[in-house]
């Protein structure tokens, strides 16, 4: 399997929308999750920090939820960007999504000190809304699955 993301969609989020704690390149303390294409799926790779524990030795479920969340919005952005004729490597500003809903199933305890790989399958359900089915792997085993419904960020977000 791929071991790093070369071209990540988050690298091309508009600078004023790149402060997400999960995936914003402009959030110093954040996780800086990065999502790219892996064949026809999307992929985010992240090794949790030592403090991201549930109980010692195992990864915190909220961290897995965060990984799935940003992987979902990043995947939707990749899909819409491609539909619009762009790939991350062409350097165009990418569309920004918000999470409408998030579901996570915890399949088995997730070991620490292990790169996690979130793979996503994206389906358009509306021109501005995408479903992203996610499987998170640790050591080639599925440790969690998720579904993210991602909606294109309205211009008036929070306004």
């Amino acid at each position: 399997m791929t071991n790093e993301i070369t071209y990540a969609i988050q690298d091309y989020y508009p600078a004023d929308l790149a402060h997400c704690y999960g995936c914003g390149k402009n959030n110093e303390q954040g996780l800086k999750l990065r999502t790219g294409w892996s064949q026809e799926q999307t992929l985010t790779i992240y090794t949790p920090r030592p403090e991201h524990t549930a109980i010692p030795g195992f990864v915190y479920g909220g961290l897995l939820a965060s990984l799935i969340d940003c992987h979902g919005t990043g995947s939707a952005s990749l899909a819409l960007h491609r539909k619009n004729g762009h790939e991350p490597e062409d350097g165009a500003e990418s569309p920004r999504f918000v999470t409408a809903s998030l579901e996570v199933k915890y399949i088995k305890p997730t070991p620490q000190n292990t790169p996690l790989k979130a793979f996503g399958t994206v389906n358009e359900v509306h021109p501005k809304k995408f479903n992203v089915n996610v499987e998170v792997y640790a050591n080639e085993e599925v440790v969690a699955t998720g579904l993210v419904v991602a909606a294109k960020m309205p211009d008036s977000f929070g306004g």
Copy 2:
């Protein structure tokens, strides 16, 4: 509404199981979420850190998922502890739960610099499994809702 949790169930988790990034009192870098009874509901109050942004001014969805996650397991622990004849203030060690599944609906953008209050309604669905319906309020408005299915931690967790 109540503005602080006096007796939190997490204060009585067994010391070797109190390292959760979300709610462990022994996790130095963690969120230290604390959950107690508020009448017949459960309540966790937390003000996100400045870095917990989605876009500037608004709270990161993964932080809301983490709040709902630990609020859910804490609520299940409170409920089972009460069923076993205990309240947090009596000082007995409390049962520890893990999250089987988590659902979050993001209702509206969540303002930063505002205490969030997660209220839970707990239903036993099996002697070792509880459903916790969660509503998260900011400034007395519901900003997110959630459902946590929490299962009593098996002795063999991760083993």
